[in-house]
């Protein structure tokens, strides 16, 4: 299973029609997450779709939206989408290139695959941001299996303590791994956490380490 994030941010407002088209393209190819943000003079509105998160699972400040609601938002300047299938990623890039919106778009995922998608779509990568080594007191970090889950949120808003707590609840049969993964996805307010991969990784984590 893959994990691909596509996102875009404008430094200043562009043609609103272009953003409408952008959201349409992002939502056309089976995203498991889709989010957008409208920035007005004194107010920012962000809405989020996560597969498996419906209104019945809303909690605290976390409010879900449907795919259609995100797609229908107007006046947006920031958008993101999450995919699990490389074929969908290739289709998104191809459609974006054909639409020629002029909006700068970043794809996060395996470099070889993203560059392959670029070649097939007929575009050239402009810049790469590589993640190098981790330095310092590495024994302060959680175990690698935990990091696979928590690092899906680049701002580390998904706490290892919450993962352990939810994993124990799943293990005891108090909730499903799917629901637990939605809870984890809620924490990542940029909406980059891949809820489907999160579910898979959580099950793997439960198999190797719970109640420790």
């Amino acid at each position: 299973m893959g994990d691909w994030v596509v996102f875009t941010t404008d430094a200043r407002p562009l043609d609103p029609e272009k953003h409408t088209r952008l959201l349409e393209i992002l939502s056309n190819h089976n995203p498991v997450g889709l989010a957008t943000r409208r920035m007005e003079k004194d107010k920012t509105t962000r809405i989020r779709y996560v597969e498996g998160w419906d209104r019945g699972r809303d909690s605290g400040a976390f409010r879900s939206s449907t795919l259609e609601e995100v797609k229908a938002m107007r006046g947006t300047r920031w958008s993101s989408a999450v995919y699990t299938d490389f074929e969908d990623v290739k289709a998104v890039l191809k459609e974006l290139n054909e639409a020629d919106l002029g909006i700068s778009v970043v794809f996060s995922g395996l470099f070889d695959k993203v560059h392959e998608a670029c070649r097939e779509a007929g575009t050239n990568p402009h810049t790469v941001n590589m993640s190098g080594e981790t330095f310092g007191k590495l024994d302060l970090l959680p175990e690698p299996k935990m990091l696979e889950i928590t690092t899906m949120c680049g701002h580390h808003m998904v706490s290892p303590f919450l993962v352990r707590h939810l994993a124990n609840r799943v293990k005891r049969g108090q909730m499903t791994a799917e629901d637990a993964s939605v809870e984890l996805a809620k924490q990542c307010t940029c909406n980059f956490f891949n809820v489907v991969r999160g579910n898979k990784l959580l099950k793997e984590y439960i198999e190797v380490t719970v109640d420790k």
């Binding site: 909006i103 590589m130 080594e133």
Partner: protein, 70 residues
């Protein structure tokens, strides 16, 4: 912290980070951003030569942006 440096300084910067890492009380990571040339990351050979391991995944600006003022 961010800095801009010529590619031939990579090894020197990396060695300095390794030195600091042995003294620091916390964890830090290294991100490297490079502009591509004809769709290829020109920094890759220099990173391999310097012994810097980079992850096989990361962010790619796929080159769809156009200047607001042509």
């Amino acid at each position: 912290m961010e800095c801009k440096a010529p590619s031939d300084k990579i090894s020197e910067i990396y060695n300095a980070l390794m030195e600091v890492a042995s003294e620091t009380e916390t964890v830090f990571t290294l991100d490297i951003i490079s502009k591509c040339k004809d769709g290829v990351n020109p920094l890759k050979p220099a990173l391999v030569e310097a012994g810097i391991k980079v992850r096989e995944n990361g962010k790619t600006n796929v080159g769809l942006g156009r200047p607001l003022i042509p």
